[in-house]
């Protein structure tokens, strides 16, 4: 396959950026999108140019490091992570636009790499879970109803990639935050901090400069792990419950 790539290039956080056009040839349809970018970078290095910086780690869709907005879609046209996107989703001769996540809370560090530490601070704001550490507890010591376990697991699937923020017209982190809140708030292990967790995480989300939810649903469409839009409804419910309870204390 022969492709034309239009890639966002930006030297550092303060430099202005722009789209640069590159041609790549000899791309196999079995390559992943990141392998295709590796080919581009080898080409750039050989010609003495600065390779394109992009985030990646596991390359198997579980770590949440990879990003990229591809032709306007976070993680590209398939419901998966960029590392699990394959070139067979494109056609020979295509022009592909590649941009970084765009949000005030995710400033660009270089080229396609953005600073997602705002997510870490939201997680930190959630605090800890009051559960004994050390040797694993006996599995049936704390019974969890099947439905709750499934619900928690569905939300635990969030890999913190930030595609939801990138896709949201308001740069909101509601889907990410709701995945974390719902995951821990439904479990007995997370119950003692149920109120403070949601209030503090939402407060941190606001403090980081993320936008609010207007329920356009773009986040859930972009999420590679299928976290549903109704998770946000669930977090709103938790938040209202917590605000009422804390006021009574």
């Amino acid at each position: 396959m022969k492709l034309t790539l239009r890639v966002w290039r930006q030297r550092n956080a303060d430099a202005p950026g722009a789209m640069s056009t590159y041609d790549v040839d000899g791309i196999s349809s079995d390559m992943s999108f990141l392998e295709m970018l590796d080919v581009l970078n080898e080409q750039l290095i050989l010609s003495g140019e600065d390779p394109v910086a992009f985030d990646h780690d596991c390359r198997e869709g579980i770590c949440g490091a990879c990003s990229l907005v591809i032709n306007g879609d976070a993680h590209g046209p398939e419901r998966t992570t960029t590392c699990q996107l394959h070139m067979r989703s494109f056609r020979d001769g295509d022009t592909i636009d590649i941009e970084p996540w765009r949000a005030a809370a995710f400033p660009v560090i270089k080229d396609l790499v953005v600073d997602r530490s705002a997510f870490d601070r939201i997680i930190q704001a959630g605090g800890y879970v009051t559960a004994p550490t050390g040797s694993a507890p006996e599995a049936h010591a704390t019974p969890v109803p099947k439905a709750d376990a499934d619900f928690a697991f569905e939300h635990a699937e969030c890999i913190g990639c930030g595609a939801c923020v990138a896709a949201c017209p308001n740069g909101a982190a509601m889907l990410f935050t709701s995945a974390k809140v719902n995951h821990l708030n439904v479990l007995p292990q997370g119950a003692p901090e149920r109120e403070t967790r949601v209030l503090d995480m939402v407060a941190q989300m606001d403090a980081e400069g993320f936008g609010g939810c207007t329920l356009t649903g773009e986040c859930a469409t972009a999420c590679p792990k299928g976290i549903p839009l109704v998770s946000i409804t669930g977090m709103n419910k938790e938040w209202l419950r917590a605000a009422r309870r804390v006021a009574k204390r």
Binding site: D73, A105, A172, G211, L215, L240, A243, R244
Partner: protein, 223 residues
């Protein structure tokens, strides 16, 4: 509690949802009341007079009406203020657009914002038109709402303003009602279809019911 609400984006959105639902409930009653115009001047004007006497003899003349007006003004102010502040936050949170832009992403958000502004301007115009008579295009007489409405919709631009505003209302309620359910945490996977249907039905009934009045005057059924 009030501070927690107003300072949080989730809390402020709750203010939007509650104030929106208060206005929505009022609009449903208002729309049904308006349809009495089809039963003639006597019944319509009598109904308008009754609105001023609700709650008597406990309430004095027009007390209940003023109570409703105060609640509505507070709702409009709370709704518009939180809409402005939340929209400011949203726009600031996404300072640079994608080069490869997708228009669909912000459709609902944009219609809510523009629709909201149209509705805000309409509410002001509507009060100056049919409550105070300040901008009424014909001869406005207090206590004769039937004649005032007929006089109003005998002018083409009144028809245009009302019909455009009511279409904007339909779109606003369609996304707004369902959104409010999500904001208040009552939406769920199993209830989603029902809520969306209810939102569509409400939007359609409100728009059709309100538009029926200018259409009635235009077609001569109401004169």
């Amino acid at each position: 509690m009030a501070r927690t609400m107003w300072d949080s984006s989730v809390g402020k959105k709750t203010v939007m949802a509650v104030s929106g639902l208060i206005m929505l409930a009022y609009l449903v009653v208002h729309m049904i009341g308006n349809l009495k115009i089809y039963f003639g001047a006597g019944e319509f004007n009598h109904y308008a007079h009754w609105l001023r006497t609700i709650g008597e003899p406990f309430m004095h003349y027009e007390w209940t009406l003023w109570l409703i007006r105060i609640v509505l003004v507070v709702a409009v102010a709370a709704h518009a203020t939180s809409a402005y502040q939340l929209s400011r936050r949203d726009i600031k949170a996404r300072p640079s657009a994608y080069v490869h832009a997708k228009p669909r992403a912000s459709y609902a958000t944009r219609t809510m914002r523009w629709g909201g502004i149209i509705l805000g301007l309409f509410v002001v115009w509507h009060v100056l038109d049919l409550t105070t008579g300040t901008v009424h295009p014909g001869r406005f007489e207090h206590g004769h709402p039937y004649q005032n409405v007929v006089g109003d919709f005998s002018h083409w631009y009144s028809n245009v303003i009302y019909i455009v505003a009511m279409l904007a209302l339909g779109l606003h309620v369609r996304h707004g009602f369902w959104s409010a359910a999500q904001t208040l945490g009552v939406g769920s996977r199993t209830r989603d279809r029902a809520l969306k249907t209810l939102a569509n039905v409400l939007a359609l009934l409100l728009t059709a019911g309100f538009i029926a009045v200018p259409v009635g005057v235009m077609t001569g059924v109401v004169s």
